[in-house]
């Protein structure tokens, strides 16, 4: 789980927050509702987790509930992996 969070953190930092101090992107930092990720950005994160963890994200799963923080994304990835 920590590993997943770390990988997602690295991805978001490098793709969407160049130059940001990693400490400012906490597990519970809001991503969607704060504007770090817009719709295009969210889709890129969705594609990233699909490829990286071999899961499929359905349209109704890609909403704010699962993609608004690193913790939420990681928990979602875990639950999908458990089902796979």
């Amino acid at each position: 789980m920590d590993n997943i969070k770390e990988e997602i953190r690295q991805y978001i930092l490098s793709e969407f927050l160049p130059g940001e101090t990693p400490a400012n992107l906490q597990d519970d930092t809001l991503l969607r509702t704060s504007g770090v990720l817009d719709s295009v950005g969210t889709l890129r994160v969705v594609s990233f987790v699909e490829e990286r963890y071999g899961i499929e994200v359905e349209a109704h799963e890609a909403g704010v509930e699962n993609f608004d923080s690193i913790a939420a994304i990681a928990a979602f990835v875990q639950s999908k992996k458990a089902l796979a």
Binding site: S39, V40, T42, L43, H60, A62, G63
Partner: protein, 381 residues
């Protein structure tokens, strides 16, 4: 990044210029006035290969890489006075053909690409709606899944090529509550029951490129008409925009070069007060500004090709180029009119049409304000 065209690119560009000069300039003034699309010109473009520039030969295209496409587009922009036709080609290529090539199933590609390349099918793209323009992902057109089909309902606005199109890439939402994650793309043939090209829309410029509103009323299509996965329309839309931004701008480089050359020629020949008007510094400075604009725009456009050619993201760079080239084009069109004086204002000269055609460039494929937003975002602001 090398700004010189390769031998191959130069050869392609020269061929495009020669083709456009000799084949695409018939009767443009009348067609512009009467808003007539040139089907004959379209077929000639198909024959030349312009309708399938980036499509692999296996599907009937020319299989060119992006840098070659940009070189050809620059040549077409230089050679033709019919910017509306070129606009239609760009809409067809980047917002219809390319998404099918990139996201289509093998069956969709086999069925549509050869016909889109050979001129049999004209492509259009329906994303904008009366209440969803810049905020396009707030669209309300619904795609409801019913068994093996989808049923679409909604109204699409500003659909370029619609009056003559055979194939539409349509964006709709599975559920407005999903927001952008509900946006899904579909390919729909014109004769599908429920799809209607309703109101033709008259416009200021690009008048030879027809446009209309499209309505979808219980338009039922098989699930196999979906383009890409459910909820992945945003990615498809954005990929189109990136290509379109890069390649439409290449046309403008051609327009700006043509205008610069004709202005240089004119200010040398036109005499007032006993001397060539180019000797007046105020006149010369306009020509200088046109030259500086062209030389600063060109690398911005070729940079998009250079990045995309290496599969690197170009969102920020495409936005920089779109913003700057569009405003430069409009400024240069105005300079050209001023340099030609009263003659420049007259329809016969073609410069007033160039300006009318150019004004749309700060609006479509994302307005200049939206490009600024994209750049600010890319800078982490």
């Amino acid at each position: 990044m090398d700004l010189e065209l390769t031998e191959e690119q130069q050869r392609l560009q020269d061929a495009a210029i020669e083709f456009a000069l000799s084949e695409l300039n018939d009767d443009v003034i009348r067609r512009d006035r009467e808003e007539v699309f040139s089907l004959a010109g379209w077929k000639k473009c198909a024959h030349f290969g312009a309708l399938g520039l980036p499509v692999p030969p296996g599907y009937g295209g020319m299989g060119l890489g992006i840098n070659e496409v940009i070189a050809v587009m620059e040549g077409l922009g230089y050679g033709t006075r019919d910017q509306g036709l070129l606009f239609s080609i760009n809409a067809h290529l980047w917002t219809n053909t390319l998404p099918i090539l990139t996201y289509g199933t093998e069956e969709q590609k086999q069925r549509y690409l050869p016909r889109l390349c050979n001129g049999e099918f004209i492509g259009a793209n329906a994303a904008s709606e009366p209440d969803a323009g810049s905020d396009v992902f707030a669209m309300r057109t619904r795609a409801e899944r019913r068994g093996d089909c989808y049923v679409l309902n909604g109204t699409k606005m500003f659909v370029s090529n619609a009056p003559v199109a055979n194939l539409f890439v349509v964006f709709a939402t599975l559920d407005v509550r999903l927001g952008p994650m509900g946006i899904t793309a579909f390919v729909i043939e014109r004769d599908t029951p429920g799809l209607k090209v309703t109101r033709a829309i008259e416009k200021m410029g690009l008048r030879t490129s027809p446009m209309a509103e499209v309505t979808l009323e219980d338009c039922m299509i098989p699930a196999a008409s979906r383009l890409g996965r459910e909820g992945r329309g945003v990615g498809i839309f954005e990929a189109s925009m990136e290509w379109e931004r890069g390649c439409i701008l290449a046309n403008y480089l051609g327009v700006m070069r043509r205008q610069l050359e004709s202005c240089i020629d004119y200010v040398r020949k036109r005499k007032q007060f006993g001397q060539a008007i180019g000797k007046f510094q105020s006149v010369a400075n306009r020509v200088v500004d046109m030259k500086v604009r062209l030389d600063t725009c060109r690398p911005l456009v070729y940079r998009i090709g250079w990045l995309k050619g290496q599969n690197r993201p170009a969102t920020l760079e495409a936005a920089v180029a779109k913003l700057y080239v569009a405003q430069s084009l409009i400024a240069s069109c105005q300079d050209a009119i001023q340099i030609f004086g009263g003659y420049g204002y007259m329809t016969e000269q073609g410069l007033e049409r160039d300006l009318r055609d150019a004004i749309a460039s700060t609006l479509y494929s994302g307005t200049s304000e939206i490009q600024r937003n994209l750049i600010a975002k890319g800078l982490g602001l």
